[in-house]
Symmetry: C2
Subunit: 263 residues, 2 copies
């Protein structure tokens, strides 16, 4: 994007997500913050965020401005980049990150790296989804209390089988890329949206399952000894995490129910 165009459409990006939780919107926010690119965050900046999102995912919508409907937030709106100069609307976290990664120089250096960055991001988001399902194993729209018994079983399997499977995998990714990435980057020798996305999941897991992760950290020295702190200290990310733009965890994907953690 030329400097002229950037100036003309400032702020060029609009993030549409639920207010009140970091949620899946956080993966998009971290990409913007790492790149130092401004964006309008409807969840934080608009008093009408709920209405905006409810309209976005209306069961009556067939899309608008040449865009398809969106299944769920987050969505990204980019003025002027759609059909015939209309706003472009993209939904689905990995699809937004894939599009945005290229624009923000966070997608990898060549075609192979771009593929791996997307692959690792999808794997981090799978772990994110499984963390969500620990407190909602039966029905996403029902209360935790109605499925607490099943949540206890699901969490046990998640902590004992799934968490080590995923963490071991990412430890090996860092090891395989160590000559280039120095355990600071999953792919190549610079930050990508795979790094910021995995970081968010590791951070959320430490909030939701503090005892479990604390007990396992020593098994993944690259992940928790180098990678996690390195991403957290990255310019842009560090400032963001210290600002009031970073929302606290709450009743979203990562919830701290002590009974679901290691006892």
């Amino acid at each position: 994007m030329s400097a002229n165009k950037k100036a003309r459409t400032q702020p060029p990006y609009e993030l549409l997500y639920w207010p009140g939780i970091p949620g899946r919107g956080e993966f998009i926010r971290l990409a913007f913050e790492a790149a130092g690119v401004s964006y309008r965050d409807v969840a934080v900046e608009s008093e009408h965020a709920m209405a905006v999102i409810n309209s976005l995912i209306s069961q009556e919508s067939t899309g608008s401005d040449g865009n398809p409907p969106a299944f769920a937030p987050p969505a990204l709106r980019i003025p002027g980049e759609g059909k015939n100069g209309a706003p472009l609307l993209i939904y689905q976290t990995p699809s937004i990150l894939s599009y945005l990664g290229n624009k923000l120089d966070l997608a990898g250096a060549d075609e192979a790296e771009k593929a791996w960055v997307l692959s690792h991001t999808l794997t981090a988001l799978d772990l994110n989804n499984e963390a969500h399902d620990t407190h909602h194993p039966i029905a996403v729209a029902d209360y935790y209390q109605t499925q607490k018994e099943e949540a206890l079983k699901k969490s046990k399997d998640f902590r004992q089988a799934r968490v080590p499977k995923f963490l071991s995998f990412f430890e090996r990714v860092l090891k395989g890329n160590h000559a280039q990435g120095q355990a600071k980057f999953l792919v190549g020798s610079s930050l990508t949206y795979a790094d910021t996305s995995l970081w968010q999941v590791l951070d959320g897991l430490q909030f939701a399952f503090p005892k479990e992760i604390e007990a396992r950290k020593k098994d993944y020295p690259l992940l928790f000894g180098t990678f996690y702190h390195s991403v957290k200290e990255t310019k842009g990310i560090k400032e963001y995490l210290g600002s009031d733009r970073r929302q606290p965890y709450g009743m979203g994907i990562f919830r701290h129910y002590p009974e679901l953690d290691r006892q």
Copy 2:
């Protein structure tokens, strides 16, 4: 890819997936078959498929040939396209489809369409994953029989809340794109990997939940009246589905447990 290069590296693509089930490998197969591009299918063509896949996802692997390790199959190996002329290895279904879609001309006509094709594919794969979780709501590595009680609850929510939510969404996508796609294509005016991927999920749902889908078909006239049949009759797809390369459903993602269907 130039004609020369194509001839030189024939067969250029190698699909790595578990033998014996269509599974997530099927989304990759359908893209190849729709494009009429040959590929080596390890699950079908090799006697050592299990060993190949177990090696691919070994808990010791840090990758090879400059590629990262793979978390799970499917993976795609493309000779000569990796670092320094090594084979390129990509894992994660949506990442493979995104890469392959561009090569096979199944990804959409421009940047906006490419984003939507990936987004809709991710949504179809979310539905695919939720269908899997109906029979494995607690622990993916345990037997169905150990989590049957929870599966009955999960399936009820899936059939009553999730299936109509997803099907209504895709019906509206077809409606919104009707002027171009004539209800035959989700995006634009030609076949994409979003179409073949959604088709596979609709087909699997009819196998796993025949009563539920039969009862709901009338609510989604574009999806089941036009789209499903149109994709099935597509050149390449039609021949594939009539061949012995198409494997039957079994103990994979889509399983027909009558007790989980509408009673």
